[in-house]
């Protein structure tokens, strides 16, 4: 266990402000929403009844004074508190914990975790040589300011949302969803604002990426609210869709009251533009025109809970109500009021699930195991593996006005994060005694290969592709189709597949990139570095972001001798590094 005194202490104050545009967007979008509500002729009484006028200045004030933004020492202090509580909760000081990870391991870990790409050899060397005791906190901060941070996590959330799609054509929202998230995350827009955008989104799915969550579920109210609850609250309320669950607290009626926030929203195909697309539309007319072909293209005025004994009947008219806080609206309320009310209730600081769900998820992604597993199933009747630690982390996140970058800084400053990794614990062992190896997501692996082999990044998902909707083109998308996985899955249940192994071993794209021919990356290194040992070191630094061990150098040099042909031997060494388990994981 790393003692407190050896933790890199902050030596100077560092004022860390979210990018100004993020703040501006925060208030701008709230105002826009408000204007939108007024334009729709919302009764003033309804507005005051839900306390909207009281809330708006609050957000504006928060934006001006930035009360939630912590300096470096405050981050370190929070991390120390988290570690203290965690140790208390997981067996105390006497339990043997993993030592702090070495510099090389730490650096590859933070690069992959924050930016999604491994560090270049120069970064590895300068970091290991750096004597600044604060270097770990500093590298985390600088990587969070790198635009690749937003790119990496945008892809993560894109997968969270799209892997559970029930509408296959939702893949065409991929590019705009990624762009929307990248912009928001890099600007460090507060989490409540991002989530509100998803809940209240409207418009062309190719243009407004915030429509992604609604589009993924084809605009079906039951599915949309299930996903809002699962992703943003960690509550699997969809279990109550068909029946009252015997062990969970919430009832079928409450599920359908939640769905009643969304009946007026629908997704409809749009073929008017140059490219086919979909529109997330709102219908506030009293009588909705009938949809055709069983497709729900137009929203209906109200939501009805189906009658289980008579599925053909209309069912029971539901009043919109939020099962956590009880926030409710009248039947007949316009869509803008419904979704604004839901967004406000979901993201409210009075709603404990909201901060906890993200704190749990990010902790799981970074430390390798969640307080709750799977990360999207927090309750109400599940038990966290270290409940007070999670409470503390979630409260800090809530107190920071849902500052995502700060939450990441706090987690990444903890000993729990910085520990070396060990084999995933058995059910009877204490949690969080070590970090855990993580399988790289499809995009991380693609980027690792692309930077190692010098493969240019071409069109991503949603770029020029096949079919009428132009989905699924480009090498990255093809790669993700084989290597991607749903990030909400339990990490201990993720496994490699035969097609993945075949692609790594035999794919022509990788084989070409790893060949020694003139003009390739390896070809250039072979001619620039005549010394075999130096070349082995170079390849290890590039592929695994670390120096090879003595034994590894010996094995490689012996291999070069055995094979005789230098080019062939180094092609084989590079092939082996790419195909190693270490390359596929972050330690």
């Amino acid at each position: 266990m790393l003692s407190k005194s050896s933790r890199p202490k902050s030596t100077r104050f560092q004022s860390v402000r979210p990018a100004p545009c993020g703040v501006a967007m925060g208030s701008a979008s709230a105002v826009l929403l408000y204007t939108n509500l007024l334009l729709r002729g919302l009764a003033a009484t309804a507005v005051s009844a839900i306390g909207m006028t009281a809330l708006l200045p609050g957000r504006a004030l928060a934006a001006d004074t930035e009360p939630g933004v912590a300096a470096a020492d405050a981050v370190a202090e929070l991390a120390a508190q988290i570690d203290r509580i965690l140790i208390e909760e997981t067996g105390g000081e006497s339990v043997e914990r993993a030592a702090q990870a070495g510099d090389e391991t730490f650096l590859r870990r933070v690069w992959l975790d924050v930016t999604g790409v491994p560090p270049a050899p120069e970064a590895v060397i300068s970091f290991t040589k750096d004597r600044d005791p604060d270097k770990r906190a500093k590298v985390v901060q600088s990587l969070l300011d790198d635009p690749r941070y937003g790119q990496n996590w945008a892809r993560y959330w894109r997968d969270v949302i799209l892997y559970r799609r029930t509408e296959e054509r939702a893949l065409l929202v991929s590019a705009s969803l990624e762009a929307f998230l990248k912009e928001q995350l890099n600007a460090n827009a507060p989490w409540d604002q991002i989530v509100s955008s998803f809940i209240t989104a409207e418009g062309d799915v190719r243009e407004n990426g915030a429509t992604g969550l609604i589009m993924a579920q084809g605009g079906q109210p039951e599915d949309v609210v299930s996903e809002i609850s699962r992703i943003f609250l960690g509550i699997q309320i969809q279990c109550a869709q068909c029946h009252d669950h015997p062990t969970d607290r919430w009832k079928r009626e409450q599920f359908h009251e939640l769905a009643a926030f969304f009946p007026r929203v629908a997704v409809r195909p749009d073929r008017t533009g140059p490219q086919r697309s979909f529109l997330v539309t709102v219908n506030d007319r009293p009588f909705a025109p009938r949809g055709n072909n069983n497709n729900r293209f137009v929203g209906s005025p109200e939501h009805y809970m189906p009658d289980l004994d008579d599925p053909a009947a209309r069912g029971t008219l539901m009043t919109p109500a939020f099962f956590v806080s009880g926030a409710a609206l009248e039947v007949g309320s316009p869509d803008a009021l419904r979704r604004w009310t839901l967004a406000t209730a979901v993201t409210s600081k009075e709603n404990p699930w909201f901060a906890k769900a993200l704190a749990n998820r990010l902790w799981a992604e970074l430390v390798g195991e969640g307080f709750y597993e799977p990360v999207d199933d927090l309750g109400p009747d599940r038990t966290a593996s270290a409940p007070r630690t999670l409470e503390h982390l979630a409260k800090a996140f809530s107190d920071s006005d849902y500052n995502i970058k700060q939450l990441m800084r706090v987690i990444m400053a903890t000993d729990a994060y910085q520990q070396a990794s060990r084999v995933r614990r058995g059910a009877e062992e204490s949690p969080f005694l070590a970090n855990c190896s993580q399988r790289l997501r499809g995009d991380q692996l693609y980027d690792a290969l692309a930077s190692l082999l010098g493969i240019p990044d071409q069109v991503g998902l949603g770029g020029p592709g096949r079919g009428p909707y132009g989905m699924g083109g480009g090498p990255r998308a093809l790669f993700n189709a084989t290597f991607g996985f749903d990030p909400s899955e339990r990490k201990d249940e993720l496994a490699g597949s035969i097609p993945q192994a075949l692609a790594m071993m035999n794919s022509p794209l990788i084989a070409a990139g790893a060949s020694a021919r003139r003009g390739s990356r390896l070809g250039r290194l072979l001619s620039e570095i005549p010394d075999n040992e130096q070349l082995v070191v170079e390849l290890y630094l590039r592929a695994l972001s670390r120096q090879p061990s003595e034994a590894e150098i010996r094995t490689c040099l012996r291999y070069v001798k055995e094979v005789g042909d230098r080019n062939e031997a180094f092609e084989d060494i590079l092939w082996s590094l790419i195909n190693s388990a270490e390359f596929l994981h972050r330690k």
């Binding site: 391991t105 559970r164 799609r165 029930t166 509408e167 296959e168 084809g218 996903e227 699962r230 699997q236 969809q238 279990c239 055709n292 069983n294 497709n295 599925p311 799977p374 070396a420 990794s421 060990r422 084999v423 995933r424 070590a434 855990c436 190896s437 249940e493 496994a495 490699g496 597949s497 035969i498 097609p499 192994a501 075949l502 692609a503 071993m505 035999n506 794919s507 022509p508 084989a511 090879p548 061990s549 034994a551 590894e552 094995t555 490689c556 291999y559 094979v563 062939e568 084989d572 060494i573 092939w575 082996s576 590094l577 195909n579 190693s580 388990a581 270490e582 596929l584 994981h585 330690k587």
Partner: protein
């Protein structure tokens, strides 16, 4: 739904028979492997077709296989297997007689009509799911989609129970790109990626990445070097990851080096045989399915899409039937000629049927209330039609068959225990099929 085990004595006997079968069969599988290895040793002396006929002899006694012909989009029952000539709902589609006395099908399927003696039609399938993704999921897994339990698809459920785990090729292969290939109904679900299908985008070219990028000798040399370079990670927290990785690479490299991967290469098939299946992606898919089953693959799914005929139903369904008719009939004939039909269940189905009413655009919309599937091989008694819709094709007059009944019937044909419970990700035991009853008439009972 409520009890775990069927209570009737007939079912209990069934259960015992199933156990006995598996035990006998396991031995058969082992014998076959030894046999094939012996054959493989002298492979140079044998032609491909000689080797295959030897394999076929050994395979006759083996475990069951299944070919699922998946018709994505929801084929119209009126224009395929339940025509209603003379009724306004029937449209212009005529019925023709078949090789099965008394069973008439649509004129769009003349070749299938000739093969009708192998086919048992189910004309009274019924479900409630009228949206493509949900119905596709239901007809692939037997369950409705939820985001909390990832139900395994049929190919995964079947291979999980009856496939030989040591077989060099993937036991579950999916051919062609359909909606079933993406989204939630894709694969192994909570059984794990091990039971995901091995996807072949097009039967007309070899699957991606199966050929080594170098010579075979160098490929083996590389594998050895890789083995020597994994220790460092294994000793620094990656022991489990390295062990899993080595297991996976062992399996994948065995496939790369196996002579059986030649089964994916249709050019090894005589021109005459290829011509008999027709020069189309679906024809090639059916031929590949036969080759794979012949080699020992347990479950092959072949996709044919675009049945969603909201517009211009009659011309479009006719065209689709044209794509399907010859390969389907040829597949059944070919399997029979090779002695494989008895052990291979061939299932033809889509996610739902289409509306009796013809819409103003000459199309038919989604209709899950009454639709068709077709079964052949695997002990199915061909030449019959089970269930009956009314004259208007709107409702079921006789013997409604639910999705669980259909799944149970498929399981019966494959000697799969439908009552076996698998553990879901959230620790809930889930039966292969929840409820339902085997449609015994299918097997002539």
């Amino acid at each position: 739904m409520s009890s775990c085990r069927p209570s009737s004595s007939a079912s209990d006997n069934d259960w015992l028979r199933h156990e006995a079968f598996v035990r006998v069969d396991r031995r058969t599988v082992i014998d076959r492997r030894h046999f094939l290895r012996a054959v493989g040793g002298g492979a140079a002396a044998l032609s491909w077709s000689q080797a295959l006929s030897l394999q076929a002899a050994a395979l006759k006694q083996r475990n069951r296989a299944c070919i699922l012909l998946w018709m994505q989009g929801g084929p119209s029952q009126f224009e395929t297997f339940d025509p209603k000539p003379g009724h306004e709902n029937g449209g212009p589609t005529k019925a023709i007689s078949t090789s099965a006395p008394g069973v008439e099908i649509s004129e769009n399927l003349p070749r299938t009509a000739q093969a009708m003696k192998h086919i048992c039609l189910l004309r009274s399938l019924t479900s409630k799911e009228g949206s493509h993704p949900r119905a596709t999921f239901l007809m692939h897994t037997g369950y409705l989609p939820t985001s909390s339990v990832k139900h395994p698809t049929l190919g995964a459920l079947v291979t999980h129970q009856i496939a030989d785990r040591e077989f060099e090729l993937p036991s579950f292969v999916r051919i062609g790109q359909g909606r079933a290939g993406g989204g939630a109904s894709a694969g192994g679900g909570f059984l794990g990626v091990e039971f995901d299908p091995f996807s072949v985008a097009s039967a007309q070219r070899p699957p991606d990445n199966v050929q080594p990028a170098t010579t075979e000798a160098r490929f083996r040399r590389r594998l050895k070097l890789l083995g020597r370079l994994q220790d460092e990670y294994a000793s620094s927290g990656g022991r489990q990851e390295v062990a899993d990785h080595e297991k996976l690479y062992g399996k994948a490299s065995k496939m790369v080096l196996s002579p059986k991967t030649g089964a994916f290469d249709l050019s090894k098939e005589p021109e005459k045989v290829r011509a008999a299946y027709g020069d189309s992606p679906f024809g090639a898919g059916c031929l590949l399915a036969r080759r794979l089953v012949e080699t020992g693959v347990t479950f092959v799914e072949v996709n044919l899409g675009n049945w969603d005929t909201h517009l211009d139903n009659f011309a479009r369904t006719k065209e689709l039937c044209g794509q399907m008719d010859q390969p389907y009939a040829q597949l059944l004939t070919d399997l029979e000629d090779r002695g494989l039909l008895e052990s291979t269940l061939v299932v033809w189905m889509g996610e739902f049927g289409r509306t009796p009413r013809i819409n103003p655009r000459g199309g038919r919309d989604h209709y899950p209330r009454a639709f068709c599937a077709a079964l052949a091989g695997g002990g199915v008694q061909g030449g019959q039609a089970i269930g009956r819709t009314d004259a208007a094709g709107a409702s079921i007059d006789d013997r409604p068959i639910g999705v669980a009944d259909l799944f149970r019937t498929i399981c019966h044909g494959l000697k799969v225990n439908a009552d076996q419970e698998n553990m879901s990700g959230i620790g809930r035991p889930i039966k292969v099929v929840d409820g339902g009853e085997t449609v015994r008439e299918v097997f002539g009972a």
